[in-house]
Symmetry: C2
Subunit: 401 residues, 2 copies
Amino acid sequence: MRTWTYGHRADEGEVAALADIQVVPAPPVPWRPGAGTGVHLEPSLTMSEQTTARPPRKQRATLREVAQLANVHTSTVSRALSVKTRSMVNPNTVERVMAAAAYLGYRPNAIARGLRTSRSHSIGVLVPDLLNPVVPPIVQGLEARLVEAGYLVLLGNADHSPAREQALADAMQIQQVEGLIAFTATEDDQALDSLIEAGVPVVLVNRTVPDGSISAAVPDDHMCASLAVEHLVGLGHTSIAHVAGPQATSTGFRRREGFEAAIQEAGLPRSLELIVPADRYTEEEGARCCRELLSSGIPFTAIVAANDMLAVGCYDALAESGQACPDDISVVGCNDMPFTDRFDPPLTTVNIAHRDLGSAAAELLLELIHDPELPPRQIIVTPALVVRGSTAPPRRSRRRW
Amino acid sequence: MRTWTYGHRADEGEVAALADIQVVPAPPVPWRPGAGTGVHLEPSLTMSEQTTARPPRKQRATLREVAQLANVHTSTVSRALSVKTRSMVNPNTVERVMAAAAYLGYRPNAIARGLRTSRSHSIGVLVPDLLNPVVPPIVQGLEARLVEAGYLVLLGNADHSPAREQALADAMQIQQVEGLIAFTATEDDQALDSLIEAGVPVVLVNRTVPDGSISAAVPDDHMCASLAVEHLVGLGHTSIAHVAGPQATSTGFRRREGFEAAIQEAGLPRSLELIVPADRYTEEEGARCCRELLSSGIPFTAIVAANDMLAVGCYDALAESGQACPDDISVVGCNDMPFTDRFDPPLTTVNIAHRDLGSAAAELLLELIHDPELPPRQIIVTPALVVRGSTAPPRRSRRRW
DNA sequence: CAGTGGTGCGCAAACGTTTGCAGTGGAAAG
DNA sequence: CTTTCCACTGCAAACGTTTGCGCACCACTG
């Protein structure tokens, strides 16, 4: 269907642009069109003669080669090619330089440039687990904003291993990232310390540190939980359980706080037995916690799970014990992962604009790079309840209707 | 809960290791323990005096500073710190250098190193859409293998835009990636041309180019489709439709081929009207194609979708038209995305080890980096059928039981 | 016609490494 | 005691850019 053109691409129109260059036959130019006489720049697409004509060899063209071809100094080429300094050089020369650069297929070497300018144009992004469904949309949001700002994203997947996280953070520091965005796994995370100490701007996304010393973009976790509780209270539930997230994470901690506050707000009795924290955000843990709730003997008609993963774990435990959802027990998740609308039953959950979370974090980082002295700041994105099929009025209250 | 230690970390044990360094009071050392007299290296954790003692300032320590402190030449430091050249230098000196490096918190500058060695230690990964559920596991597989090999991953999300893809590919080339792994969106993809032309090793993952000129790791698409067909035939279906993928993608094209071959193999009549290709791998397209099939009037009892996304689109169209799945029409997907087991009904699909796909692609790239002259090679991973609730014997055949 | 100002460009240093080469010293060999 | 060799380390160049500085030239102005 198509063939890769390894040689010179005829459709680039660069050769024509070079036509009006007056090439002085500089001796050590590796490239000699008419043996130093004219400017006869036939593309010469013959593959056979590999050592003559046809400029773009494997070796990348350097600034010096462009300079030689355009008959100027490298500094002039540099200035002509950079849009900020272009005004310093004669438009005529600019044109000549650009033509030569195009002809040679010149690409700046970001490594060399970075060494001189001490900028790497790259941002490290450290995620605990790429397979967690909330991660990709956040990364997407990040990446879009960062690319827009001229950065490239160095992605590291820590895979829940502190050692790997540390190694990645170190490697990124060595790679001279200009900033780092981390979904730090745990609260007491050594990995970021050395970066922060070294003055690398760091922001967190989706989670924070307790002392708020690092800028972060987070969902309004408090509200996530209270939205769920208010929804259930509105349906008539009066005994609501909470499968909480790991209390060492800011999401788990704050959503539990939000849950308790909303319960109190609704005038419902506070019963600590109905709150059971998971050790991790997994289905298994969700199921375990739900089983614990069921076997506690304390009656309840609804569960607020700190997370969709935990919520589907609840689905499993409920099915095991013969309880129907939502007929016997309602379940609310949090995150609105993809395809939760296709679950059986479709999961009522709290949507978080993860993409916005990502771009907000990127924005914070860009600010911080611009002015490293900026005090830490939090961006809080407000969630929204999504009512689907996993919640219904409790039996008792329905019977009254 | 915890406090960030911005100053010197007392628990690093580096200061102690430095105890036996004999520091000659070199004049321009920014750091002077006892004003040139002794080696009295008290950590001196007083935050108040910010301008004295306490080595690790904001500025990253450089090789020269380590050399000065250890009283050797930079070249010796370089050799002592690199594990390959360490044998060249006196063990005593090595120890002294390492202590000095640790004391100053020295980190090599990968940019400077890269300029010298013309290695960037980074690999570009170009994805069409991070939100596509098959992408994260592939990236995870890639990343794990590449990090293991000492590389960092530069992730670019093209977001289905050829322009963006081109821009990202260019930026990565400028960043001097040592190789590129692409989930190329379309067959005639200009974006990779310039990289390949420049001699950057490139491999594809999940998709290929028709002429096989680029190494790739792909699923056995042919088998994906035939597994689905064989399963349905085994259930007794004799009239099977195919919602094909975009025919410009190798997955779409090959799965259709596999479908047709399997139909023929089973001795079923070939009817082109029962094959309708989608324009994109989306739910909407799946629904559209399914509607087209339903309105064609040609009877069928099962659908093989080229993709789970298309399959859930079929769910929608079937529900619209009042057809039950699997009672009226069975549906088989492909990819075994996460949570397909929780769909209603749980989706019978073909599992592809996407993680392995990723690590295989990484392996191919590493080979190619090692020996750029290697001929292109394909790694094909075999899929496996996962039977769930969306397939059942056709009514006709069930009635016979 | 001297003075002034501005434009355009070259020169060279610098960024932080790595590495071929050469030099030093000491030990082993003659 | 001289020679040879080896182990160790310093010297300096190079990687490809960017950028402050200064020079040359030209066009004004007075």
